[in-house]
């Protein structure tokens, strides 16, 4: 299945089998877009996310982050298991802004 080179250093045009395949379903980011981000130098899940929005959707990357890690491993030679998922941010679940803003914090005092 692996028809493309393992490293993308210095390459901009890479042939991939299913360029239109969606990787991030929430934000509809395709395989080609992820590969492009990697070929432009993205080396972490966060860097891919910043360039493509993959992982910024409703599920907050729970579905696609692992796929992106696989692509990073496959194309940059990093060990899959050592690639951290994206940096966790609050809120870890989608929460309406007005609810978040209504924070009651009586714990200081």
């Amino acid at each position: 299945m692996d028809k493309h080179p393992r490293t993308y250093e210095g390459k901009t045009e890479i042939k991939i089998e299913h360029p239109d395949m969606i990787i991030c379903r929430c934000e509809e980011v395709t395989l080609a877009q992820i590969i492009e981000a990697i070929s432009e130098g993205a080396r972490t899940v966060d860097e891919v996310k910043r360039r493509t929005r993959a992982g910024m959707g409703l599920c907050q990357g729970r579905t696609c982050s692992r796929l992106v890690r696989h692509l990073l491993a496959q194309h940059t030679g990093q060990n899959f298991h050592q690639i951290p998922p994206m940096t966790a941010r609050v809120p870890v679940r989608p929460i309406a802004l007005e609810v978040l803003a209504s924070l009651e914090d009586d714990t200081n005092g």
């Binding site: 299945m1 395949m21 298991h81 998922p85 966790a88 809120p91 679940r93 924070l103 009651e104 714990t107």
Partner: protein, 363 residues
Amino acid sequence: MNHVELAIIGAGPAGLSAAIEAASVGVQTIVFDENQQAGGQLFKQIHKFFGSRAHQAGARGIDIGKNLLGQVAASGAEIKLDTVVWGIFEGNKVGVVTNGRNVICKADRILLATGASENVLAFPGWTLPGVMGAGAIQTMVNVHRVLPGKRVLMIGSGNVGLIVSYQLLQAGAEVVALVEAMDRIGGYAVHASKIKRAGTPILIRHTIKEAVGNGKVEQATIVQLNDNGNVIEGTERTLDVDVICMACGLSPLAELAWLAGCRFTDVAPLGGLLPVHDDNMQTSLPGMYVAGDIAGIEEASTAIEEGRLAGIAIAESLGYLTTTDATVKKQAVNDRSEQLRDGPFGITRREAKETLIRRSLET
């Protein structure tokens, strides 16, 4: 709710068991879960569980869950359902949305028992309606009693894939095939035999190539793999299916642990990157504990034992149990866990757990 002694995040088998141990000796305990129902994965599991008498073997997961809930009620712990924990902050503070209110709860001890998330596989067509995770299908079939479709392709031969196949057959669907990329069935043979004798083809060294359909899954193409895992061209077969179920493994759901700043390590047999924990289930952050699938993908039975261990250790650290009493209780738990982590399937997990605990001592 502004201050509790123990805040447990996740009311699955691990969180509930910890609550039982801690609250029953006096620890003021609250359990948060975003679901409407407590029990975590257990309420989807209508099949009989393995284990020994001490683990209620032979009982169905759902009944084990009911039993735990009864014990929680007796222990005095409070369960808050429909309550999302959205953040963890310095000073052991937990951000909680409950009843539409957003509250910060300060806890002397925090136990993360958030379980796992399902891995997905990307293939052309995987975003079509009808391609679903095994967990979602289990919820539909076993909890809501609706069939997602009539003809199913199952991907993955771990226990989850095997069990969900069986439950789909019970619900009246046909499992057209189960494909597995490895050269052997991943889960227990007894589970495989059940679906095999009911007529489900189990195809090892096979995977899905693509799903096609107009607005929803109508067909799936499967393909054979060689010993290196590469596609053997020309072996494509197209199946008429309306559901493709992905049972491709679970990963620890550890975002809150990342957020809190727990130290992680990579232990592949337990599901990849995990927060390290010591033999009391305490992470690298004092006062922050983990138990269950977040601390390594295993089983409900081991999640229950880990939860108990964490609950006992937490009660001890808060002074509700003497060291002598706690040691006796922990020993009993560890003996039971050791039984579960034995045999050709369990031993890898036992060794991996030992690695994880050893790494917690490194700096």
